[in-house]
């Protein structure tokens, strides 16, 4: 699908019913929390409703008419997502519950006694590399892997500007490294990391590389073949799709070598009382009845994003981000945590305000102005420790946000300062 019309944010807002609702007390909704979870367009809501109302049946295992219609919709969603991310094969797209599950699935393949592939063998002396700017979902699974196997967890530091510090790349990624897993776009800093220098080193030492693309796939065109990494994880609910559905993309040859993650229905080829053989990918990794309607909804989300155009979305967010960075830096005592220019940066802006705790900032913005932001450590506590702060306030933008909403945010922040001044 190509973009049908020039980008018109007012037209886009009409596609999202929730954006025109009022909050109690007649406050209009100013939704600046899409980095947390995005809102849903009518197309996604209606597609899911239609599937439940007309086509619902179990997938893969029901031979009746509804079963085949449901299977067709579910597998059709896989095709759409494969096309959206440039996957060389549809079978490389695995449906999971969320990005966390996708990362856990990959981590579980390492140091696993039933996986005899050399590339996945992990033990004492081996190293796993992440970064200091990771979401907990790209930290804890690797900590668990290190604990299970005796391997060492290491990480890239972050610069004061909020960029990945790759100065020590050649030492950090070495012949002991088995996997490097880093975030594509930081959910706190907004920083977009360039994978290429790291990937070049990863290939030199024969390790594998994973990207947590939860914050990039919704906001820019991501082509997994072009990226050249081995695994990519993302989630549906941040890209105008429903919650409960995530994606793992992996190179076919690696997915084939990996053991199943969860055992159960439909992930098998044949089962005896004492052993089983497994279905080919992707179904090997989709045990049990999957989130059928959610997958169909994610397919519709991809249709919607494609119809608007990922380049157009990226450009719109770039304009919003530049506008927000300028406006926020005018606020006294406000410190932006992350890059202060739009270069290699997405529409997530986190900040602190001198003498005012983020929980108080968020509460007043919500109570008085209906502005939804996220406050806290945003599941990236080590990154906050790195900057010596317990929490930040985070505004995150998406295709439906406007500069007027950023103006409202700035007005709200001035009011917050008045209350606590």
């Amino acid at each position: 699908m190509t973009s049908a019309a020039p980008f018109d944010v007012e037209r886009i807002r009409k596609d999202f019913p929730i954006l025109s609702r009022e909050l109690p007390g007649g406050r209009p909704l100013v939704y600046l929390d899409s980095g947390n979870s995005s809102q849903k367009p009518t197309l996604v809501i209606e597609t899911m409703r239609e599937h439940l109302a007309q086509h619902y049946g179990n997938v893969g295992r029901a031979l009746h008419a509804l079963g085949s219609e449901s299977t067709e919709a579910y597998e059709g969603a896989r095709d759409k997502i494969a096309a959206f991310i440039g996957a060389p094969s549809r079978d490389e797209v695995i449906f999971t519950k969320n990005a966390s599950e996708s990362i856990n699935l990959v981590a579980y393949a390492f140091g696993n006694p039933i996986n005899t592939d050399e590339r996945f063998k992990v033990g004492p002396g081996d190293e796993i590399v992440i970064s200091e700017m990771e979401h907990h979902s790209n930290i804890v699974p690797w900590q668990l892997l290190a604990q299970r196997t005796g391997a060492t967890l290491r990480w890239f530091p972050v610069t004061d500007e909020g960029r990945l510090d790759i100065e020590g790349l050649n030492e950090l990624v070495n012949e002991r490294t088995k996997i490097v897993s880093i975030v594509h776009q930081s959910n706190v800093l907004g920083t977009v990391n360039s994978e290429s220098p790291i990937l070049a080193r990863v290939r030199e030492v024969g390790a594998l590389m994973m990207l947590d693309a939860s914050q990039s796939v919704p906001h820019q065109a991501v082509d997994v073949a072009e990226l050249g990494v081995d695994f990519v994880a993302f989630t549906g609910h941040k890209m105008v799709g429903p919650s409960g559905i995530g994606v793992l993309w992996g190179r076919r040859e690696l997915l084939d070598a990996m053991p199943p993650f969860l055992g159960g229905g439909e992930m098998i080829e044949a089962v005896w009382m004492d052993h089983s053989t497994y279905a080919p990918v992707p179904h090997k990794f989709e045990a049990g009845t999957p989130p059928i309607v959610e997958a169909v909804g994610l397919g519709a989300a991809v249709d919607y994003l494609t119809s608007v155009g990922m380049e157009e979305i990226k450009q719109h967010e770039k304009e919003l981000t530049g506008y927000a960075l300028d406006a926020l830096q005018e606020v006294n005592g406000l410190r932006i945590i992350g890059p202060r220019t739009v270069v290699a940066r997405g529409g997530t802006v986190s900040f602190t305000m001198e003498g005012i705790h983020p929980h108080d900032v968020g509460q007043i913005l919500d109570d008085v102005y209906g502005i939804a932001v996220r406050v806290g450590h945003h599941c990236a506590r080590p990154l906050h420790l790195r900057f010596g702060i317990p929490a930040t306030t985070r505004a995150s933008f998406y295709l439906y946000n406007t500069t007027a909403e950023i103006d409202a945010l700035v007005r709200g922040l001035h009011h917050v300062q008045k209350v606590f001044g």
């Binding site: 929980h359 108080d360 509460q363 007043i364 806290g376 906050h384 317990p390 929490a391 606590f420």
Partner: protein, 140 residues
């Protein structure tokens, strides 16, 4: 929610800073938002609360609640202050449906509005739970 009294305590906390001597020290954190409080309690004869000293960081609600607690508990008795803690806990956990007993709560009644915000209740309770814990340890 942001009553003048809460803001006043936040901007000018009473009795803040850790002091000697003390019978017990506790450290409580709120893992979801990173608020934390370190609290010391010094008891005297007849269950008298001689001092409640504290330090911490966090939002206005958590820090003001510590300041109000200091005022209410210091100079009171273990028995009296625990009844205030119980009434405060009942108010905070009442989802905004509980009528506060102002005679028992004194200034702490200003936090009544917080009870309507489930996400903030734990901020208000942080120091009060730490105090209860410190009392148990002082008497152990």
């Amino acid at each position: 929610m942001y009553q003048e009294l809460i803001l006043e305590h936040y901007k000018h906390p009473q009795g803040r800073g850790l002091r000697e001597p003390y019978d017990a020290e506790v450290h409580h954190v709120n893992p979801t938002c990173g608020d934390e409080v370190t609290m010391r309690v010094k008891l005297g004869d007849g269950g008298k609360v001689l001092d409640v000293s504290y330090d911490g960081q966090g939002c206005s609600i958590s820090q003001a609640a510590a300041s109000v607690l200091h005022e209410l508990a210091t100079g009171s008795t273990v028995h009296e202050s625990l009844s205030v803690v119980d009434e405060f806990t009942r108010l905070m956990q009442g989802r905004g449906q509980v009528e506060a007993d102002e005679d028992v709560l004194g200034d702490a009644v200003a936090f009544a509005g917080v009870a309507k915000f489930p996400a903030r209740v734990k901020c208000a309770l942080l120091a009060w739970m730490a105090y209860k814990d410190a009392l148990v340890r002082s008497q152990a």
